[in-house]
């Protein structure tokens, strides 16, 4: 016997798709032309790296670069800086984000806004400020790449903070902690055995983003006169264009692949509001930044 059928109302189908009625021709032309604009430089780089300005394919650009000791030393330097940055970032951000979600959820948006501040202040200006305010510090900080790692933590913050923040949000910290405590675990054990394993993907995202950032950063490194990988690329670019292009291409691919992975993983996870995930979140200067700036 059927009484009221509590059927959910049929969805009237939201979304702009039905709204726009944009013609197929228009769509194809727009996406085609813009797609070309983004593909051509990649194709050009590939061709240039194999042929230089001469005819015939060769891998000489690649082999020459790989045999350059400076290539390896600068790469190694950048990797070291990257590692330092990653460790510092995790050390700073894991406790912070966990704390915010656990003890002070009300200040979450303020913290988010603060994390976006580095997008507002140009890195050239930050460098100026570093020289002005830390110029007189002992050489162990200012004279070594340590200062780079310290500043990269800041510069990568818009990307890293949001990534970790959304990962922590996916956990129900409060319940996890309370469950752990009711089972008699200490806070340290809870952090180590419960929270961290659950934050794996968020931590991984931070590692990838921060590391990729460090490998590519040019402004601060060159202005503070450190020959990191990116700075080295520009230097050889002055004289050996095809080598520089060869490695730019590799560098691009090496950033794009992990970035795509992170984007896909996080956009799948963070759902509704944060379409495009962590990267988009970083890209969107939210209104809070401005409220702060005002």
């Amino acid at each position: 016997m059927a009484s009221v059928i509590g059927a959910p109302a049929p969805s009237t189908g939201g979304g702009g798709g039905n709204v726009l009625k944009v013609g197929k021709v228009f769509r194809s032309v727009v996406l085609g032309v813009v797609g070309l604009f983004f593909l051509v430089p990649i194709v050009s780089s590939a061709r240039f790296s194999f042929t230089g300005t001469t005819r015939g394919i060769s891998f000489s650009a690649y082999s020459k670069l790989l045999s350059d000791p400076q290539f390896w030393s600068t790469l190694f330097l950048s990797a070291k800086i990257g590692l330092g940055t990653v460790l510092l970032t995790l050390l700073l951000l894991i406790p912070t984000t966990v704390w915010v979600h656990w003890k002070a959820p009300k200040i979450r948006r303020v913290m988010e806004a603060l994390s976006l501040l580095p997008l507002v202040i140009p890195s050239v200006v930050i460098t100026l400020g570093v020289i002005t305010s830390f110029g007189s510090l002992p050489n162990i900080i200012m004279g070594t790449p340590v200062i780079l790692a310290l500043e990269y933590v800041i510069l990568a913050l818009p990307y890293t903070y949001r990534t970790l923040d959304s990962a922590v949000q996916a956990l129900d910290i409060k319940t996890l902690v309370e469950a752990g405590q009711s089972l008699g675990a200490s806070l340290r054990k809870i952090l180590w055995w419960v929270l961290l394993p659950n934050l794996r993907s968020g931590v991984l995202g931070v590692v990838v983003l921060a590391f990729a950032f460090c490998l590519g950063e040019f402004a601060v490194a060159s202005l503070l006169s450190f020959t990191t990988f990116a700075v080295y690329l520009v230097q050889i670019g002055q004289t050996q264009a095809s080598e520089a292009i060869a490695f730019s291409l590799i560098a691009l691919l090496f950033t794009w692949i992990p970035l795509s992975v992170v984007t896909v993983v996080f956009s799948r996870r963070s759902g509704r509001r944060k379409k495009g995930g962590a990267l988009l979140a970083a890209a969107q200067l939210t209104s809070e930044v401005v409220d702060l700036a005002e």
């Binding site: 016997m1 109302a9 049929p10 009237t12």
Partner: protein
């Protein structure tokens, strides 16, 4: 096309809102999405000023029918007539039809007043005239104080009232409401339902109201169009639909129904063993007399009697105010009886009772094959 455009303008220009009712006719309207038939040749005619409720489960085609009427949904074949005019080929903006949607249909960047003014504005009506008219409409729905509010500053019920005012502001020939109450909570819902009904009576506009809520349908409609799988199952007054359902589907979709096994004594009387005789009407589902059949009986068509030898066991008693709903079981089949509250003391949970026929069966059908 030209003529109807001027007709719309003329309508809007008229001062009084009375007697706008026109007849509306859907004739053999078909609409398919791929292989799914949303409307399988729907024909329906509403009298001028009539309040028609289209009732059915989700996906039955009722919303498609409404949208086809509004001109928002293309149809594959068939015709739509409003006031005798064929509007099948007219786009939505050229039909004189006011529509209220499920929710969120107010333009978020406009105040209630601007929302109500919108239809008049795009018709090129002067600012003072449309302001006057919009105020009048907001007053009618009792929201004149909210004139300067934005939609997000109002409750769902208020938003729907503004949407109603907006739809009526253009003095449409027909008013369409697509589940306008489904997103509201129960109390607001009942309130607004009354308001809509009253307003419709006052304005006298031919109205189509889509819902999946049978209670809403029964209380609002002059006539109910019960739909299922793109077909019109029955089109009749609430009383007809409730007490004389045309089909099995209507019988079980509208209201509660008990299914008894029994036999047909003759062409007028069905017998349920141990309960008694129920008069019934012939329908296409009725088997020939003599054989066994399933007899569908409303909960009100029986009385309950305390009886220690009774075959039925009381498993649930729900107090409904003036009535009591009693659930009884025999074997693994359950039945529902509705009694006046004065009989409450007859039954208690777990006691044995017997049932007695009081009214008619609503439908008699062949036994379901197992």
């Amino acid at each position: 096309m030209e003529s109807s455009k001027t007709a719309v303008k003329a309508e809007v220009g008229q001062g009084d809102g009375k007697g706008q009712g026109v007849s509306v006719r859907l004739s053999n309207v078909k609409r398919a999405y791929g292989s799914v038939l949303a409307l399988a040749g729907l024909s329906l005619e509403a009298e001028p000023g009539e309040f028609v409720v289209m009732l059915g489960p989700s996906g039955c085609g009722k919303t498609t029918a409404l949208r086809a009427l509004a001109g928002l949904e293309p149809i594959d074949s068939g015709s739509v007539y409003v006031g005798g005019k064929d509007v099948t080929r007219l786009p939505a903006s050229k039909r004189s039809i006011g529509m209220v949607f499920q929710s969120y249909s107010l333009f978020p960047n406009m105040t209630s007043l601007s929302n109500v003014e919108f239809g008049l504005k795009v018709r090129g009506i002067s600012a003072t005239e449309r302001r006057r008219r919009a105020h009048e409409m907001l007053e009618m729905v009792g929201l004149i104080e909210q004139a300067d509010r934005y939609p997000h500053q109002m409750s769902g019920g208020q938003q729907q009232r503004v949407a109603l005012a907006r739809a009526l502001a253009i003095k449409p020939e027909v008013l369409l409401l697509d589940e306008p109450l489904s997103a509201l909570d129960a109390k607001v819902r009942a309130n607004l339902r009354e308001q809509i009904k009253q307003l419709q009576r006052e304005v006298g506009i031919t109205t189509f109201f889509v819902t999946h809520d049978q209670e809403e349908a029964l209380s609002l409609a002059d006539r109910i169009a019960v739909m299922n799988n793109g077909n019109l199952e029955q089109f009749g007054t609430p009383t007809e639909v409730y007490s004389a359902p045309a089909t099995d589907f209507v019988a079980s979709f509208v209201g509660n129904v008990n299914v008894f096994e029994g036999t047909l004594l003759d062409k007028e009387t069905a017998v349920v063993p141990g309960v008694g005789n129920f008069p019934y009407r012939q329908s296409e589902e009725t088997p020939t007399p003599g054989g066994s059949a399933e007899i569908l009986v409303r909960p009100e068509a029986m009385t309950i009697r305390a009886d220690s030898d009774g075959e039925y066991l009381v498993t649930d008693v729900t107090f409904l105010g003036s009535n009591v709903k009693i659930k009884v079981e025999r074997g693994d089949t359950s039945f529902i009886v509705i009694q006046g509250s004065s009989d409450l003391d007859i039954v208690s949970l777990g006691s044995k009772v017997s049932l007695e026929a009081k009214g008619s069966a609503i439908l008699v059908r062949r036994k379901a094959h197992l």
